[in-house]
Amino acid sequence: AMEGGPSARIREGDCAVLKRDEVFKAVSVLRRRKIIFEKQWFYLDNAIGHIYGTTFEVTTGGNLQPKQEMEETTTETKEAGTDNRNIVDDGKSQKLTHDDIKALKDKGIKGQEIVQQLIENSTTFRDKTEFAQDKYIKKKKKKYEAVITIVKPSTRILSTMYYAREPGKINHLRYDTLAQMLTLGNIHAGNKMIVMETCAGLVLGAVMERMGGYGSIIQMYPGGGPVRAATSCFGFPKPFFDNLHEFPLSKVQSLLSGTFTTETLPADPEDNALLEEESNGLTEEKQSSLQETEEEPTTEAAMEIGPTEEQDTMDINAENVEFKENKEKENKENVREKQIKQWERRKKLIEAAALLREKNADGLIVASKFHPTPLLLCLLDFVAPSRPFVVYCQYKEPLLECYTKLRERGGVINLKLSETWLRNYQVLPDRSHPKLTMSGGGGYLLSGITVVLDKGKSDSSNSEALKMEEPSSKRCKLQDLPC
């Protein structure tokens, strides 16, 4: 297996995730690249070679240093009060001023020492209860003892990060809902999956992780091309992408009705005259539509810009007269490259179409901003019988309609509309309770299993539908009608 060994160490070029308490940020591991994270500036150079999961401190100069295992010195029985009846919060209990603390920081005093100073200079500390003292120390440590853990990206890490930082990019798909999709969909090595998502490629990445590079995936996409920003963060080895295909939604109807064709595939990629025109037109089109579909970078980007994007900016800006001659040669090369790329793109499109036409996919996953009904009704036709499908929607109502339309269509059983309720806990001796805040909603799922579609007999699909419904209680007969 590819686990452990070299892949467990931080390498240059990796996509790594910085973690401090519950805050995550994905970054590219590059030398001499300044990183800002949680109000700290540092370079990742010293982290390279360490094992993922290592915790670092930021030292002077912005360098990372592995945190030493420190013996907890706070186990001595300290003076403490019994309750807060006499503690008045007048904001004057801390004798150190902002300037004092700044002076300590500037001197290079370690966070641990600053916390100790704050405790000693707090007039109310010894009156607090032990629990309150504990809480106070934790709070100060969080602020002044800045430790960063570098973790390896995974579905767990990335789905949590995206939900916390940029839920809008993933249609507010909460990580436990994603977890349900992967299991309900029986995503595993060897499957032939159809994935349709507009979640920045997070769902695609999660599916790829659970397939381990085995099997194949056809990603359906709207517009000019699929967005795979999150997918690249998983750090999958190149072979994982060999069996990842993509197919445009705009061609689905033609594929289903049998009228699908690509533009005439050139027999020879060296046929310059014909292709030059076409390719220029197409690549421009594709570039502009890619820009449209690509999500706008937010000011608080979850991802830092990688090296390839930088290169593009550089190319556009290279308007130096000296290079004009070389540029002409370059242009000819570029055109040829583009022709080859275009030819390859067409080839892949035909491959993807062929895979879909077999109508034997092992499952369907949908998680997008679009209304789910038209997607389901079309894409289910590509799925083999006795296979699961899962549709995610941020809202419940579209799934009610989807459910109804699927019943009318037939060929599906075990339809279930659900959501998961998730609660985190604080577990401490004598202080265990659910946490104060929780997510109000994580989206909804509609899942089911395909069966052989009985076309033609509208009778039987009706009785099928009736069979699939639970018997409504007699008392409610007047109000409830099966859909």
Binding site: E3, A179, T183, R210, Y214, S386, N424, V427, V452, S472
Partner: protein, 306 residues
Amino acid sequence: MSFVEYGDTIKDGDTAIVFLGHESMFPVKVQHGTVTQTKYGVIRHSTDLIGKKYGSKVTCSKGGWVFILHPTPELWTMNLPHRTQILYSTDISIITMMLELKPGSIVCESGTGSGSLSHALIRTVAPTGHLYTVEFHQQRAEKAREEFREHGVEHLVTVTNQDVCKNGFGVSNVADAVFLDIPSPWEAIGHAKSALKAEGGRICSFSPCIEQVQRTCLAMEEYGFTEINTLEILLRVYNVRTISLQIPDLGKAAEDNSSTGFDSSNPSDQGSPCANLQQGTVQFKSGVPLREVVGHTGYLTFATKS
């Protein structure tokens, strides 16, 4: 067929799922010459099952029909014979993701119980991973081995009959993840740590009672685990129903025959409430929660060994 690989047609020796209708199904061992009784009549394996495509409709002797489904760990969880209380797919889903399981992962589990989680774990780590599962009850351990064999996954799993709290998982420094569902998980944390790889791994403990969780968290901290986090997850299912609500008779404002407040001559833009004044009802679609739902299964505590 196998629980880790899809097949298209039903074969002799397969475990298939017979689907009768809403949430009514059961597993069946496909065998030449056997018959299975259902409320719709008899299913003859040799003629009705073997060679048929999974997902086919099969008509039974009395005329009613059923669907034959390919087994999955999720369907197995809903239909397996219980020897103990089991974990359901809702918990299994979050466990799988939070333990970062994938093809090639090595997982340790105790107790095996009825094998509900085991099947799901095996499916996820296949084809290159492995499950080491420990069960202290001898008959349960044997039954689990038997089932894994029947389901074509025995090469992916090792069942050990011992007490994990005393003797651990039988392996050391190999696991990417460890899962505990035992009465006293704090007694197995040390063994869990040694089963996990030196460079790190994930652990999960499932306990119904908060007191167990408290002791387990303490033990995890003592053994140097980090990122300790406890959560619970519950499934909420909605029934899709068309509801009709009666419009109350509020009388007339004046002596004329104009309709009361609710104007039915103006169909709603949204299309959802559709008034039917002749019957005095409004219809709409709703996702109705079930009357009784599962309110608690157990607390899940996750942590990292680094």
